[in-house]
């Protein structure tokens, strides 16, 4: 009978982690639908990027106030895992404050530190909730944020408030119980001496009956555990995967100068053949069964796997969109929407595969047109502001460019003026209709 809580705990833990693992496998499978791209070179530069940008949040600090608030949440999140570890040990083995005896004074310091960070995290969370819901920052209220994305963001913040409340309830009630000598932790002093709950506990819960305190203590303890399991499983459905994926995302990010766009290899081969005077136009292709390469991207499978990883990593903060010259002057293009659309379409493709034994059955839809319109794609100035702004090195620009390539090379669907420009470049080596022979006339003009 007394093992029942331990058994329930073990089941919740195994099922919770199991479901999460299943969804992680799905994410990995979906990301692998992308085209190959080698991002394993220069590993020391990549580790450095990950350390500075993901772990150290370097790029967040271009806007110091949100950066500090965000860093507080992040630090609280990481440090609280120590308490979670204790909860898991206690939950499985029926102990109470398992680490306290072995850690002694350091335990008091650790839990106090967690309490202080939790309080700061609570303040940060409230600030974030007010920023979204009271101050109504424009970038949180763009058209792509209407509906689910806004609810998603608020839900995550509310979960954080609940989590912190659970921590204080758990420690606060235990503090009162301990001072009464009724805590499950048996000790000989009058207080745990945790910085916040040694005051907060008596203030909130002092005078309550012992049984009520025991119930509340368990509510806080189970609440903490269940929130963590719930949060873990919610990640997959939310925009919040960045807490995990920011690390691989910064590691695999493009290391080249931002101005360098990739040269399509399939095109290089064809152009070389075209320009080679010795090429035999009637020669049989080296590999006659090879599927001719598709130029550019019209759907998620045409993008590379790093672009798909980018899509799962995006947390919809909207810094890209708020710095985008097209978006801020009222055009439809929003780099954040490009990332959200890519993820939504990738999820749709993944669900299609789940329903069809792992094989994608064409659904007459595509990322282009059904999610992202040519109007959005043509509004981009390729200025790299979105790439510069992204705190975790996502590149919406690379997706925009790959989709333009599809529009132009597969569909000849460039805006009319650009067709004229391309004709000019082809015929006379300049975007305008000037003769190449006149290229150096300027040296003779007064």
């Amino acid at each position: 009978m007394s093992f029942l809580p331990n058994i329930i705990f073990a089941i919740v833990l195994i099922v919770g982690v199991g479901f999460f693992a299943k969804n992680v496998k799905k994410i990995i499978r979906n990301i692998k639908l992308g085209q190959k791209v080698n991002r394993t070179d220069h590993s020391s530069a990549r580790w450095k990027n990950m350390a500075l940008i993901a772990f150290g949040q370097k790029k967040m600090f271009t806007r110091p106030i949100p950066a500090i608030l965000h860093f507080t949440l992040y630090a609280a999140f990481i440090i609280t895992q120590i308490e979670l570890l204790e909860i898991i040990v206690d939950g499985l083995f029926g102990t109470h404050r398992f680490f306290k005896d072995s850690l002694g004074g350091f335990y008091t310091f650790l839990i106090s530190f967690i309490e202080i960070l939790s309080l700061l995290a609570l303040i940060a969370t409230i600030a974030f909730l007010s920023r979204r819901n009271l101050l109504k920052l424009p970038r949180f209220n763009k058209v792509e944020m209407l509906g689910w994305p806004t609810k998603d963001a608020n839900l995550i913040l509310i979960m954080e408030v609940v989590l912190v409340a659970c921590i204080f309830t758990m420690n606060g009630t235990d503090e009162v119980l301990y001072s009464l000598g009724k805590s499950h932790y048996v000790g000989d002093s009058a207080s745990f001496n945790f910085t916040i709950t040694q005051h907060l506990g008596p203030a909130l819960f002092g005078g309550m009956s012992e049984s009520a305190l025991h119930v509340l203590e368990r509510v806080g303890w189970w609440g903490h555990f269940l929130m963590v399991i719930a949060f873990l499983n919610y990640l997959y459905f939310s925009k919040h995967l960045h807490i995990l994926l920011a690390f691989p995302n910064t590691y695999f990010a493009d290391l080249n100068a931002k101005g360098k766009f990739d040269n399509l290899e399939s095109v290089t081969n064809e152009v070389k053949l075209m320009m080679d005077p010795n090429a035999d136009p009637f020669a049989a292709p080296a590999n006659p069964d090879a599927v001719p390469a598709k130029f550019g991207a019209s759907d998620v499978q045409d993008l590379n796997w790093v672009q798909l990883l980018n899509a799962y990593t995006c947390t919809e903060c909207g810094r890209c969109t708020s710095s985008c010259p097209a978006n801020t002057t009222g055009k439809k293009l929003s780099p954040r929407k490009i990332m959200m659309d890519t993820r939504d379409r990738l999820e749709e493709v993944g669900k299609n595969m789940d329903a069809n034994n792992g094989v994608f059955v064409p659904d007459n839809k595509s990322l282009l047109n059904d999610y992202i319109t040519p109007e959005e794609l043509w509004a981009c100035t390729s200025c790299n502001a979105c790439v510069e702004e992204c705190p975790i090195n996502i590149s919406p620009l690379s997706i925009i460019m790959d989709m333009r390539r599809y529009l132009v090379m597969e569909q000849s669907a460039a805006p009319m003026e650009l067709n004229a420009v391309m004709t000019n470049i082809e015929n006379n080596g300049a975007p305008w209709q000037y003769n190449q022979q006149d290229r150096v006339n300027w040296r003779n003009e007064a």
């Binding site: 101005g259 070389k272 320009m275 550019g296 790299n384 510069e388 470049i425 080596g429 290229r439 040296r443």
Partner: protein, 263 residues
């Protein structure tokens, strides 16, 4: 004035058995656009004054392919690139200077994989190196104390992390360099990049060049300095739109230096 310009082509130099120190890549805008040609000439005057042995490709130069690539036409880009590379490799070009950040970026970053490996510098970097090495000296003269703001071209700044060379040159003119609220890595695009220069903008509530011109005008400048012929056009249009032509000039850094020298 034109008789003062010494502008040999690579072919002419080769015929005389000479090799220039640097190839000046003029670019389409610098070759054909009336406003940009003035920038080209200003830069050449400085090169002549500093006795830099340079040459242009002249009729053998062709579009780098930047607007084609950014419009999505990778085929056309690579054809242009390979033709240009063939020409430059035949002349054994080692170093290239250009006043166009788009040409600069493309040749520097996208040509090497296609076989075109050169040292590529933007003209502001080149001018700074001339000053640093003492081959060129300038005095502030007419720009002393003038309020000048610098607009970072995306393909020079964010794309290639070059922010200081143009600013150093403005400071060397004894001018008062004033920064826009969005500058350096946060600089706002002029609206021309990614082949936008050649098409009408998509529907919106404002043109990007107007937004950027407003950023610049907020600094109450006498001169808006640019380092890109396309930014120059966009900002000049913005100034006309705001009817400020009488009080605010848009000038390339090369023009500032050339004017300071009364060239």
């Amino acid at each position: 004035m034109s008789e003062n310009l010494v502008v040999p082509t690579m072919a002419e130099m080769m015929a005389q058995g000479q090799t220039p120190e640097v190839l000046f890549w003029v670019g389409c805008s610098g070759s054909f656009d009336d406003r940009a040609k003035k920038i080209t000439k200003a830069f050449v005057k400085i090169l002549n004054k500093a006795n830099v042995p340079f040459a242009v490709l002249g009729t053998e130069e062709s579009c780098t392919g930047d607007p084609a690539k950014r419009a999505g036409n990778e085929f056309l880009f690579q054809m242009q690139a390979m033709m240009n590379i063939e020409v430059m490799n035949a002349y054994e070009v080692k170093k290239i200077v250009t006043a166009c950040p788009h040409c600069f970026n493309t040749i520097k970053n996208e040509y090497p994989e296609l076989g075109g490996k050169y040292e590529v510098v933007h003209h502001t970097e080149f001018l700074k190196s001339l000053l640093d090495s003492g081959r060129l000296t300038i005095e502030g003269g007419q720009f002393k104390g003038k309020r000048i703001t610098f607009h970072d071209p995306c393909y020079l700044g964010r794309a290639n992390n070059i922010y200081e060379a143009p600013r150093d040159l403005i400071t060397k003119l004894d001018a008062e360099l004033v920064e826009m609220k969005r500058s350096r890595a946060n600089g706002l695009c002029c609206g021309a990049g990614g082949a936008q220069m050649f098409k009408e903008p998509e529907k919106g509530d404002k043109d990007i060049n107007i937004e950027r011109t407003e950023d610049a005008l907020e600094t109450k400048p006498e001169i808006i300095a640019a380092g890109c012929p396309f930014c120059n056009t966009m900002l000049t249009d913005g100034i006309k739109n705001k009817e400020k032509e009488a009080s605010v000039q848009v000038m390339d850094i090369a023009e500032l230096i050339a004017n300071a020298q009364d060239l």
